[in-house]
Amino acid sequence: MTRLEATRVVVEAAGDAPIVASLGHPAYDLFEAGDRPQNFYTWGSMGVASSIGLGLALARPDAQVFVIDGDGSLLMNLGSLATIGLLQPANLVLVVMDNEAYATTGGQPTPTAHGADLAAAARAMQVDAVTVGTDEELRRSLARAGGRGFQPSGPLVLVVKVTEATPRHWPPLDCVFIKQRFMTAIGNREAAIAPQPVHRPHR
């Protein structure tokens, strides 16, 4: 299963729920799998996609929050698993696209290519986690955490073993546009105009 194929499965399962994507190939594939306003594409801050998703999940317990991370990115912020384990956001699904490489930077192998087990790391931090390798397994694991009418059942880490296929498309480059479109879509629209002082005409 390529990362793009896996991403399509996640988008389908998410319905209209928010998805936060780690920079580089995971974000590019999310765009190609289905650009939608509820996608938050990061263009930097490698490692913190899971943290963004955690904050969003805590702020919006009414929404199921999905994160599409990479193995290299999660390894850069492994402490995030401890914090997710500590705070136990019931509505957070962290999908780790594990291609065992830093694909965006040229395919250098990550420690997961040599046996590092991210699902075991998550479980050690008290977060339910499974590793899946087929789209059927992925579908089944996501089914219990679907977008609409979801049943929050505790944070879940899904490590998806994927193969690499270089993405062909990029999401929008304008970060503020991405943010405002996203916030509007999930019901937290930023005010277009700052509050103005009340004008009191002279009498």
């Binding site: 919006r60 912020n77 402490g79």
Partner: protein
């Protein structure tokens, strides 16, 4: 309950007055007074511990996307741990947050390992374009925090409040 320092009570009332109900932090000795005050006196303020400062900025960004007004509290040494998240997430996406920095390495410091970053904090903030204000006296903390936060959330820019040792050890 023991009497909390004036500056710590001021930090709490200031961030609360600006509408922040979510505080993500990496612990620091002086900030422990703020955390204790928030825990005792502000039942509706959520305290979230992060394992590292950069992570705290990511969580705060997510809280903002979810409609909250986040505060990040850290020691100045942690600014170095945070710079990539600040410069490639918080700033380009214009994600507002109140950032409260307990200073190390300024006047009164005893630990040489804290001095280089402490000395550089303001220059770094200026270089990346984040406005900052230093609390001059313990009494000034409440207003400083409230005003920095009000401007941050009103203008959608991060704002930093620096708490010097001369204040936090008072």
């Amino acid at each position: 309950m023991s009497q909390r320092p004036v500056w710590a009570a001021g930090v709490c009332s200031g961030l609360y007055a600006a509408g922040s109900r979510d505080v993500v932090y990496v612990p620091d000795n002086p900030l422990s007074h703020v955390l204790a005050e928030l825990g005792d006196q502000y039942a509706d303020v959520r305290l979230m511990l992060a394992t590292r400062e950069e992570e705290a900025f990511g969580i705060a960004a997510g809280l903002y996307l979810g409609g909250r007004r986040p505060t990040v509290m850290l020691q100045s040494s942690g600014l170095g741990n945070s710079l990539n998240a600040i410069t490639s997430l918080v700033l380009p996406y214009q994600i507002p947050m109140l950032i409260i920095v307990s200073m190390r390495g300024d006047a009164g410091e005893w630990n040489a390992a804290q001095v280089p970053m402490g000395r550089a904090v303001r220059t770094i903030l200026d270089a990346i374009g984040i406005p900052h204000m230093t609390v001059a006296t313990p009494d000034a903390a409440a207003d400083a925090v409230r005003l920095i936060a009000t401007t941050a959330f009103g203008t959608r820019q991060a704002g930093v409040c620096l708490l010097p040792r001369r204040v936090t050890t008072s």
